[in-house]
Symmetry: C2
Subunit: 100 residues, 2 copies
DNA sequence: ACGCGAACTTTGCCTTGCAAAGTTCCGCTT
DNA sequence: AAGCGGAACTTTGCAAGGCAAAGTTCGCGT
């Protein structure tokens, strides 16, 4: 009836789902902005980002901004595709839950 | 920007999200049907159901059907309300992810 | 009395989230 | 030059929780 297997566990976890959702709304996000928005400890945040990066979902962009190091993150093609598929499952759940 | 805190952890977990979604589609579900649909071990399934029951989200209905014990499960009012709220968050995520 | 199936509990493993503290890097200040 | 401070990242340790396999209970039917 539903493909709960398709609920990619990597994306489904709360913290990472937050990251992915934010990344989907803008071309790129600086680390500090993500941290402020998601209210995670930096250790926790960087770990999730690394997990997503290792899965090929997130690209890491290192720059220097105003004489400060600034690392930004962005969805990769693969990441966007995976997220889109994930959203499709969510959508079917929402739809099923609304009709009743 | 998003209320990821509202993503009730109790419901968000894959297994329990599956249960809640199924329960939302019909008035009640026998244990065996849930098990078949979700392909969980009965130990795992009953544990999730107990967790949801203790949270007041799920009602347990014990009957005897065809001379066999048959336990069914249904959403409570509270459960349906919580699930509806959860779905609202999902919906905002889906919406945010689609526009871009 | 025995077996069987449904539902449930117990046990144990193992993953994983999470935070706190520590590390590295580097530009700026004094 | 030495030290401060902030950004980003690593390490460590803990605790929670998912999950399956095996064991338990409780009827009913033969």
């Amino acid at each position: 009836m539903f493909d709960f297997d398709k609920l990619d566990k990597l994306i489904h976890e709360r913290g990472r789902l937050g990251i992915m959702t934010l990344l989907a709304t803008r071309p790129s996000w600086p680390f500090q902005d993500l941290k402020a928005e998601l209210k995670m400890s930096d250790g926790n945040l960087v770990t999730h980002l690394r997990t997503l990066h290792e899965a090929g979902h997130v690209a890491i962009i290192k720059e220097v901004h105003l004489d400060r190091p600034q690392t930004s993150y962005a969805l990769t093609e693969k990441g966007r595709a995976a997220f889109t598929e994930y959203l499709a499952v969510l959508e079917s759940i929402v739809k099923a839950g609304k009709e009743k």
